[in-house]
Symmetry: C2
Subunit: 173 residues, 2 copies
Amino acid sequence: MERKLLLLGLLRAGDSHGYHLMEMLDKHTGTFIELTKPTAYRLLEEMLQDGWLSSHEEKAGRRPARRILSLTPEGEKRFTDMLRDCLSYYKLPEFRQDIALLFLGALPQEDVVDLLVKRLSMMKKIRQTLLKSINGHAASSVLNNQLNHIELDTAYTEGLITTIKKEGVIEHG
Amino acid sequence: MERKLLLLGLLRAGDSHGYHLMEMLDKHTGTFIELTKPTAYRLLEEMLQDGWLSSHEEKAGRRPARRILSLTPEGEKRFTDMLRDCLSYYKLPEFRQDIALLFLGALPQEDVVDLLVKRLSMMKKIRQTLLKSINGHAASSVLNNQLNHIELDTAYTEGLITTIKKEGVIEHG
DNA sequence: CGATTCATGTAACGGGTTACATGATTCG
DNA sequence: CGAATCATGTAACCCGTTACATGAATCG
């Protein structure tokens, strides 16, 4: 599972605790990965149970104690195993958003254009935030690939809009 | 939710029953959408409960009875509402598979190349099946967009491989 | 002194999958 | 007669989210 891989990968760079890991992810990957606190804490807890991680409490000043996590040798092994599995595997991500495009004929043409324009503007916002997180970023190669994907969708949507304006909605199914 | 939209959209074209809907999806969208039987039956059941659909039993020959489903006016309304929502919304799909690319430095260079080559071959298989389902297909515009996405990833991965061969693994994080 | 940050989590729910259960019908 | 097709579903589980709970420390 990729999220465990991610957490283990971060811990490989140095011991850390849940809160700090989440901080790193927010900055590091931006929109790239969505991983919420409850999920992260649960995954870490699981990996502790399974012996992939060890922990000790650390009191810095009078703050609430941190649970510092470290990779165990077992965890290190699992990391490389999972890494090999993930690297050699590919799956086309699901483009659920495209489902709606199958039914353009169900709405008046002008409405379709308006709605697609809204969709376009969302894309452009996302593109902007992606661009920001790319600047001077370690993982910029991966993020650049994402940028290319969103630009592909943008071009596709723009094409759809102009086609619809010219030739009307194409009926599917 | 896009899957309900999809089922409603299919039912808009004519009354049908669960099994038949699943058949249409298998042929129609190929790899495009993954929707398993239990999910489909549950979604249909929910929409029946909510009055978006009505049903009647139909005994064809001596086969097990079919539950024929029809859109109600309520269902028709929900369909267009959801369609508008989905059309005007965009979200970048999550590329979880890219997580592994953040940690290429953790493996020997030759291994990374081998693993990425495997990944490439999976991409090419997926591309092939996509190409097949595009031929003479109603939803070919959307499928073509998907094809472009997979070709983008292919090119990216090929680029990675040649870079690694030339310059070694780029360290992240 | 109120808001934000640091730091931990739990509870409840949503959405989806795999594997299992059932049983008649038709095809080879 | 055995396998595939037609047709319905349930049970158990996995993965993930939102919203909530707690509480000290620091900042403005």
